[in-house]
């Protein structure tokens, strides 16, 4: 008998594989990636690909200084890389976010449900993410945590509270 249990922490299904070096590990990683991409396109339809294109286009259009006519910094390549990695590892049941360019060159991903339910993550390309949110019932959170490529339980719980 196999039971389904609630996650106790990080969702390791989507965790980046360990640093395998053999041809077998590389083929397995590619196989897994293709299956995960199929899962995401099934869950989100064309919205997944549209979001990727939107993110790349947004970064391209803001790749020079002063893109907002107010002295904004160009979108950092490492910030784009982090945001793409985060999206690649986003579980399929999490709604897709809106993409927001930030004047310091960071990339923001935002989830909005209501004036008192919204959550934002900012990727600056430094290996950490800044987050802030209104989770309803007057609860506010903000902070910084290391970014390891996947959703931390705290971030996932925060997004769940905003989007559900």
């Amino acid at each position: 008998m196999t039971a389904a249990v609630a996650g106790n922490g990080y969702n390791n299904y989507f965790r980046p594989s360990s640093s395998g070096a053999s041809d077998t590990s590389k083929r397995l990683a590619e196989f897994l990636k293709s299956v995960l991409n199929h899962t995401r396109s099934t869950a989100h339809g064309s919205q997944w690909e549209n979001l990727h294109e939107e993110l790349l286009g947004m970064a391209a259009e803001r790749s020079c200084v002063n893109w907002d006519d107010q002295g904004a910094q160009p979108i950092a390549e490492l910030a784009l890389e982090e945001a793409l990695l985060f999206l690649d590892n986003l579980p399929s049941w999490i709604p897709l976010p809106d993409v927001v360019p930030e004047p310091d060159g960071s990339i923001g991903l935002e989830w909005y449900k209501a004036p008192d339910k919204q959550f934002a993550i900012s990727f600056g390309g430094q290996g950490s993410i800044a987050f802030a949110g209104l989770l309803g019932n007057g609860r506010r959170i903000n902070g910084i945590e290391d970014f390891e490529g996947t959703l931390s339980p705290y971030i996932q719980e925060s997004i769940d509270r905003v989007t559900n």
Binding site: N11, R15, S18, S25, A59
Partner: protein, 247 residues
């Protein structure tokens, strides 16, 4: 405890021990290169690990990713035959042992020695994750009329559908509450080459423990426990028929 028996021809394609860390803020990737002086007797080959950097350009109103260069994120040091690899990254240490696998003791000893060098050179702030992963390739002799003859929990197809499976991928994550570790069990069959007499099935067992440990503490007992968890997962995943093939 599951039956754990020595396999003289274990189907291991790769075994690895991995330790993830919080790096010290001022660690530069080129600092890791200095480790080669201490490792070159067993790992004479040195290579920078590079990540492709990309720029984004607009073409016909759409963003396109194009390669503009590469940036280093670590170094790998290989044995003369390329079968043992020490990967020194900014926030990850890995010791890979590719086939032919020899023994747990040899893997453990080599990994521990290489880790001690990583610890001195990289001086990480904290250990955040420990992992033991064994990737097996089971070569099942054709014809394979019933996967349950070889795997205790193969994927199943509803009875009224065709029972011939061309490929599959199964990945389950179980949590060992005693150890506080996760065990990812992946079974995969990409496809069988009609010209070969065997069908390859990958059985990948990846055990990990998230933690917050002082890197100078002796946490290697934990690695031993992850190995036992890995063994349990492997021996419970295969049948006696499979084990007979590799004794």
């Amino acid at each position: 405890m599951p039956k754990v028996i020595p396999l003289s021809q274990a189907p291991i394609r790769e075994a690895l021990i991995e330790i993830r860390v919080d790096r010290r803020p001022d660690l530069a990737v080129d600092t890791l290169e200095a480790a080669h002086d201490r490792l070159k007797e067993q790992f004479p080959q040195k290579r920078a690990m590079q990540r492709q950097e990309f720029g984004v350009s607009l073409k016909e109103g759409k963003g396109q990713v194009s390669n503009v260069g590469a940036s280093k994120y670590g170094f790998r040091f290989d044995s003369p035959d390329g079968k043992r690899i020490a990967q020194f990254q900014l926030d990850v240490f890995t010791l890979n042992w590719l086939a032919p696998y020899e023994s747990w003791d040899k893997l453990y000893t080599l990994a521990r020695r290489a880790w001690n060098i990583y610890l001195e050179v990289a001086a990480p702030v904290e250990v955040t994750q420990i992992g033991v992963r064994f990737i097996n390739s089971l070569m099942l002799p054709k014809p394979v009329t019933d996967l349950e003859q070889y795997l205790t929990c193969p994927p199943r197809v509803p009875q009224k559908l065709p029972q011939g499976v061309k490929s599959f991928l199964s990945r389950v994550v179980v949590h060992d509450t005693t150890l506080g570790a996760d065990c990812i069990i992946t079974q995969a069959m990409e496809g069988a080459d009609p010209k070969l007499d065997t069908i390859p099935i990958v059985l990948d067992i990846d055990t990990t423990l998230r933690c917050r440990i002082d890197p100078h503490d002796d946490f290697w007992e934990i690695i031993g426990k992850l190995r036992h968890l890995k063994n349990s997962a492997f021996f419970e995943s295969v049948t006696d028929t499979t084990l007979e093939m590799y004794k």
